[in-house]
Symmetry: C3
Subunit: 150 residues, 3 copies
C-alpha cells in the first residue's frame, strides 16, 4: 500500500506548517540527483526541555508531529508522498535537560510515524539521536532528514 493510501486509511490529517515569526533563508526540501534533503523542522506548538518541563511521552508526540509536518512538506513540494521511494537518514535533535539520556525513545516517535506510512522496508533508515542545549524558538524536538525520490 502506498504512503498516501495508508495515510487515508489511518485518517491522519497532515498539519499545516505554522507561520514563523521570521524568514529562514532555506529550502524546506532540496532535491538533487534523486536525493531529497529536508531542512530541520519541528512543531513550534511543542516547546520546552525534555526531561524537565516536557516528559518522555510528550516528547515522543512532538517527534511524531514533526514526522507529519515533514510529510506535509514532502506532499507540497513533490505533489504526493508516493514519490518518496525510501527514507535514508534522519538526525533527531532533542532539547535535553541535564541527565536526560532517552533520546532514542523520543526519536522512535518519529520513526514509528514514518514506518506507519512507508512500512519497514522503505521507512526504517539510518538514524542518530542526540541531546542538544537549545533549539530554534525553544522547540523540544527538531528533525532533519534525507530521502530517496522516485
Amino acid at each position: 500500500m502506498s504512503p498516501e493510501a495508508r495515510l487515508a486509511e489511518l485518517g491522519i490529517e497532515l498539519p499545516a506548517p505554522p507561520l514563523l515569526p521570521f524568514t529562514p533563508r532555506l529550502r524546506r526540501l532540496l532535491v538533487h540527483d534523486g536525493i531529497g534533503y529536508l531542512s530541520g523542522n519541528g512543531d513550534i506548538t511543542r516547546c520546552g526541555r525534555v526531561g524537565d518541563d516536557v516528559d518522555l511521552e510528550r516528547a515522543r508526540e512532538a517527534a511524531r508531529a514533526t514526522a507529519h509536518l515533514m510529510c506535509r512538506t514532502l506532499r507540497e513540494e513533490l505533489g504526493s508522498l508516493d514519490r518518496v521511494e525510501r527514507w535514508l537518514k534522519v538526525l533527531v535533535l532533542v532539547r535535553s535537560a541535564p541527565g536526560f539520556g532517552e533520546q532514542p525513545a523520543v526519536a522512535n516517535g518519529f520513526s514509528e510515524a514514518i514506518v506507519e506510512l512507508w512500512g519497514e522496508d522503505a521507512g526504517l533508515c539510518a538514524r542518530s539521536a542526540i541531546g542538544v542545549a537549545e533549539l530554534p524558538g525553544g522547540l523540544a524536538v527538531e528533525v532533519e532528514a534525507a530521502v530517496a525520490i522516485r
Copy 2:
C-alpha cells in the same frame, strides 16, 4: 553571473584559514560522485557563547565569516568557486547560552553570504540550525555543508 565574478564585483576578500594549534585528521573537502562534503568549519577569531558574551549581530557576522572561510576552502580545493553547481545542505551549529533560541537568525548570516555569490537558485538549500553546548576551541558558530560539484 558566476560566483567568482560576483565575488570580484562585491570586492569580497576570502580570508585565509587560520593556522590551528592542532592537527585535525580530516579532509577539508571530500568529493565523491559529484558531491562535495565540507568539514565543519568556523572562525576562531570569533569565539564565545551566543546570547551571553556574543550578541545576535556578532553571531551573524561569525556565520558570514564562516561562509567566506568555506569559499576559500572550495577555491583552494577545486580551483574556482564556479565549480560549485549548487549548495545542497548546511548544518549550522550555534554555541548557545541557556534560553537562546534565535539559531535561524544566526544561520541566515551564512545563507545570505552564499546567496550573494550563487543567487537563490543555486545558493538556497536545505538547512538545519541547532544550539549546542560547546564547539571546538570555543567557536561561536560552526558550519558543515554538502555541495554539488560540476
Copy 3:
C-alpha cells in the same frame, strides 16, 4: 593492503555491539545508490561527560572504540570491510562539560582508527566535531558516518 588484511595484521578484535535495553527503530546501516549511511553509534561501556568525569585520553579511547563498533556493523551488514571503498563524512558528537573545547582531539581517536585500516586515501574524510549536552544512555562519544560502498 585491504582493511580486512590490515585488521588481521594489527590483531584488532572487533567488539560485539552491546545488547541495548531498548529497541531503536532504525537500520544500523542503510545502503542506497552506493552510499552507506551508518546510524549514530557509541560504546555504552564508556559513559560520562568529557572534561568532567571523562578525561581527554579516555574520550579518545571511546572514539576509537566507536570506530571498531562501526567496523563490526559494516562487516556484519556487508560481509567484509573490504566492500567499503572510502569514508565520506563523519559527525563526532562529544558530550562536553562546560568550557571543554577539544572535540577535534577526541574525534582524532575515531579518525586514526579508520586511517589505520583504510589508509589516508580512503580513510581520511570530511568531519565535524561538536560538543553536545547529552547523548543516549549517557554516552561520552557518539559518531554517525557515511561511506562509499563498492
